[in-house]
Symmetry: C2
Subunit: 682 residues, 2 copies
């Protein structure tokens, strides 16, 4: 017994990270043969999309899977992109060394974060086939491409290079490739079709990355192509500095210790986002620190005091120090129209509702939730609804049950929206699909395979709110439809039947037909707006027609505003009435006088859209008398949209020291499904 | 554009494993404050149980949680065990270095596998409170205990030691502690009660680790104690060598390259389990390799050929080389009676069914599935059944939806067992609980937090089979009950009413009452067995009474056998009839002659059990005439149990080169819920 502790200790040794992941390859998504090939494609495509986005290149991605050895389930995956390529000396690290990457320390939205993905593919290929991965990389500044075979020494987490060379890299058509990357890996895998398949993964990816052109050749030799449908790259995302609200004590201690800044104010201003000069001074005051103190020399108690002032536990003149919210130009949401597009591709739609929340912050990391709901033609059915999950524009295809996003769906009572749901909890049933996208600078997955989100109160709450708000919008929409239908009924009754009765009566009585417009106006006593948004098959554009009827006894004056998908690239054309742009995606017309019994017509068309992209226009009005079929404009909403636009265009606003901005912004009231952005100092 | 690739490459750097897990602390189970404290307790307890088991010490574990700072959710966790302790110079590595451990490379069942757990706790504590973890360790061979504070330099994955000292370590009562470990960590966390709580975790742990004594003091100062209910340590598990069926090509290449063996046969015999001398020669033949070849010098093609002969793709004289199954003494299942105990503690039981499958093998790793099902008193109810998941005797409390074990449950049609289930899929509803335990040398979790099992076809299939088999047993049991009830009805009719009618008729007719025993025998024409198993409140033992009635017209002769929980430590006493032990857990009596109309009584008691442990005895018979209420003995079952017993006692069987053993053993027919072990060459 006495020597057991020593004996046990002797058996202990250090494990290399690559050994760790080789044994635990299921953490990386290599659990079953069916999933392994999907994981490999996913890692390759994520890398290509990230690299192209960072280099501001419209991506052309080519994926090809061939069966090398049917009996032993050996597949070959070839992936090629037109990205910036990787310099020769970096190739071995990117492909042959785990935990090597550029995005780990950066706070911004990206697909890859960990420096594991593609190296995991190389490792899995080597483990299951004994073969290295073949890489061709061409960067624009060099005349030839680098070629090399990469394997991994898993005991040392180092690449094993072989067959290194340089070559003129020509495309199949003989043209020289300027820049790009080709990766060829053999691995054990089983290609399958269906809901969890490479095909489905690429299809979902193309939906939320319309700027990418993706071509896929399956093992049968069949080729699928998802063309680029938008020439607009996703909004450029910038790295931001950590926000004081998201810092843990241990992290702050390390930041102080490693700092070479000469004064606290410089340290606070330069290492954190949301800290103005005034806030830096106030934080020091609250923490009883000299603004000129050297961060490197802070005692543990001082660091703790600083953290407490970050968190509002130590105050300045009795008030917590106000910090600005972190900038949100580190996020790139999918946005409404793409969500609608994505959803309408999954099932035949009867009705779609969407909601993009304003960005929020969890532990100092900005994040944003978007949701969409589509109802199929025939509701009911005993099957659970389809759930489409995305994180940072990457489809999540596994671990649905263990995912925070699913749990948020399960926590909503969907019965009020017409879906079956036992006890008002759990995944609802019926012919419908729910889409959720989380954009975040730090997506917390349950594992390295990045297939499910781990529990996080703020993200859960935001997701719930998004769905409830979408639900409210949906209900409002249904109520509006109902009201419109009722009004229309009344209108038809009055407008069609009254004259008929009058004519008949007049004929019977042998009297002249009376003038009825006064009576009609009196009975209706309402201003009615009708909206029609229709795809024009011939001109291939979307025609919008808005009719305003004045069925009141007084002349009326209005401003009529509409939304249109400007962010998605749509432009207003054939707009004879003119008017003017009021804000991003909002156009307005002035209707000076609309006499009793008169109607006004607004007609325009939208270019730059596809069929199904835009099927309904929201109409707003400014004016004293309510308009049935339109919403009274919320001026705050307009202001917000303008501010967001300024932020988007990176208009530098002067630092306003006195600005009292809420850290966690509340949702903008008004138009549900209206994408709004979170403005702030940057 | 031209410099973008170089610029992007410059941003890339190596990330330390500790930085990686600090940022991704949710991978380790530190996602919410509520979960973090449970994770910390879990890691500490798992380590203590593993260390005690390896050192063959009956564990005494003390867990105490106190609130240090309510406002900032700072808790202090103190865990102490009587394990072997850790030698001073190993402490810093065990607690301050990730991926350092002894169990990573060993193939055997253990709770910890990765060398991450407790270091993760130290890291999380440091990150959230800035404080190191305080460790006291005493090993038996030293007179004083080592004391040290451990922090982590996450950039280097190295411990930071401070306040190192040695001391005489006394218990609270002043007695010197011989050996053991105390760990004190402060961390951010929220203590809560309920289904996902420290209390529940410890309770579940105590159920499947009856050899452990666990004491827990909660933040309110309330103390809970789960006493040791068995003095028997879990079966000692040995490390085994990898089995050829589980080797990947890359791994085999590395093993060959690193080998210093002089000949292939030595290499194959010494580095793999299941390879006999004959098999080693045949493998070389099948792979066209010289038995004297040096493994280190094998060419890639030779290694591939060897792998193909492992997998039966290359044959020897047209036949795949027979390999023995891997030994299963690396596994330690919970076993039937503990499953029953565990389940009956969760809800008031109406009926319990259990099933322990024989060990199976996936990718060369032995594993074993055990399941249990308990029905509550009032079935129905709209709530999903409770699912109790365990892996290697560790309760799994999170990620239920994403767990393979849950998916296996969801794939079964539970309606045939009386549970509600929409469409025959999904988690069934009703007042019931389902327990599943996976014992494996390589449990594949979905992440480092070890809360859910990732997809694996073999484990899924085994789990399904276990549940279906349990279901069959359940159905059989219900049918037997029904048959018995019918017979009893007939019996009562004949035995009570016939004599009454006879007496009445005789009285009316003024005739003597006729002798009816012949008529009764004629009408029944059956041998009936009745079994009663009852807890005796006074003597605190379990009394069993078996009655055999011969209602046939001939004398009968039988062997009557019963099962009893010998493995769980029960002993047969007050057995006046004598008889003899036929196999592990099987006792038998000879009933030489049972005349027509006669009955035989077998009475005995069982000691070493608690109330509720054993409520039903299965009765078997050997003999020509069927016995209603007993099962005809399957002699193959008896043989199997005996073989298992031999294997358990590690009786070395001579190596039989010609033995044709199936690689994947089929399930033993017969007694459902009968734990059987997988014999084989060792």
């Amino acid at each position: 017994m006495s020597g057991i502790a020593t004996k046990m200790a002797k058996g202990q040794k250090q494990i290399a990270i690559s050994e760790f992941f080789e044994k635990n390859k299921h953490f990386l998504g290599f659990d079953t043969l069916q999933r392994s090939i999907i994981t490999a494609v996913k890692e390759a495509v994520d890398n290509s999309l990230d690299a192209c986005e960072e280099a501001r290149i419209l991506p052309d991605i080519n994926i090809k899977i061939t069966k090398v050895d049917m009996k032993r389930d050996i597949l070959e995956l070839q992936s090629q992109d037109n990205g910036p390529g990787i310099p020769q000396k970096s190739i071995e690290k990117v492909f042959g060394q785990l935990l090597f990457g550029s995005r780990f320390h950066a706070i911004r939205q990206s697909r890859g974060q960990q420096g594991i993905g593609i190296t995991g593919v190389v490792m899995y290929g080597q483990l299951t086939t004994g073969k290295p991965t073949h890489v061709i990389s061409k960067i624009a500044s060099e005349s030839t491409a680098a070629v090399v075979d990469i394997g991994i020494d898993t005991r040392k987490n180092k690449a094993i290079k072989s067959n290194q060379d340089r070559m003129i890299w020509e495309d199949d058509d003989g043209s020289i490739i300027e820049h790009g990357l080709r990766v060829i890996t053999r691995m054990k895998g089983k290609y399958q079709r269906g809901r969890q398949s490479v095909f489905q993964y690429l299809r979902m990816t193309s939906i939320v990355n319309p700027h990418a052109s993706i071509t896929f050749t399956d093992p049968e030799g069949e080729t699928f192509h998802w063309p680029r449908v938008s020439e607009k790259l996703p909004t450029k995302v910038d790295s931001i500095k950590p926000h004081p609200h998201g810092i843990e004590l241990g992290q702050l201690q390390r930041m102080c210790k490693d700092s070479s800044d000469s004064r606290m104010t410089v340290f606070l201003r330069q290492n954190f986002s949301g800290v103005s000069m005034r806030a830096a001074k106030e934080l020091c005051d609250a923490a009883d620190l000299d603004v000129g103190a050297k961060p490197r020399l802070l005692k543990p108690d001082h660091v703790r005091a600083l953290l407490e002032s970050f968190q509002g536990e130590r105050t300045n003149n009795g008030k917590a120090v106000k910090l600005l919210a972190p900038p949100t130009n580190c996020l790139s949401p999918i946005e409404e129209i793409l969500i609608k597009k994505g959803l309408s591709k999954t099932i035949d739609s009867k009705f779609i509702a969407t909601m993009t929340r304003v960005p929020n912050v969890s532990h100092g990391n900005p994040f944003q939730v978007e949701v969409g709901l589509i109802f199929g033609e025939g509701l009911g059915g005993d099957k659970p609804v389809e759930i489409l999950r995305f994180a940072n524009r990457v489809p999540l295809m596994y671990q649905q049950g263990g995912c925070l996003l699913t749990k948020a769906i399960e926590s909503i009572d969907w019965r009020q929206y017409g879906l079956d749901q036992a006890g008002g909890r759990g995944v609802p049933k019926g012919q419908a699909a729910i889409l959720i996208h989380l954009a975040s600078t730090n997506v917390q997955f349950t594992s390295e395979a990045k297939e499910a989100l781990s529990d996080n109160e703020s993200v859960f709450e935001e997701t719930r709110k998004a769905m409830l708000e979408m639900g409210r919008g949906l209900r409002k929409h249904l109520e509006k439809k109902k009201k419109m239908a009722k009004t229309r009924e009344k209108f038809e009754l009055i407008n069609d039947i009254l004259p008929a009765i009058a004519a008949k009566s007049a004929a019977i009585l042998n009297r002249p037909v009376p003038a009825l417009s006064g009576s009609i106006t009196k009975i209706m006593s309402a201003v009615i707006c009708e909206e029609e948004t229709e795809w024009n098959r011939e001109t291939k554009i979307t025609d919008v027609k808005i009719t305003l009827f004045n069925y009141t006894s007084r002349a009326r004056s209005y401003s009529i505003l509409v939304n249109w998908p400007e962010k998605a690239g749509a432009e207003i054309t054939e707009n004879e009435r003119g008017g003017r742009k009021e804000a991003m995606g909002i156009w307005g017309w002035k209707i000076e006088t609309l006499e009793p019994g008169e109607k006004a017509l607004i007609e325009y068309s939208l270019t730059g859209l596809e069929k199904g992209d835009w099927t309904e226009t929201e109409v707003f009005f400014r004016g004293s008398q309510d308009v049935i079929g339109a919403t009274k404009l919320d001026e705050k909403m307009l202001t917000q949209i303008r501010a967001d636009e300024a932020a988007l265009n990176q208009i530098e606003l002067p630092e306003e020291e006195d600005e009292e901005e809420d850290y966690l912004p509340s949702t903008v009231e008004g138009n549900p499904g209206q994408a709004t952005l979170f403005g702030g100092e940057q």
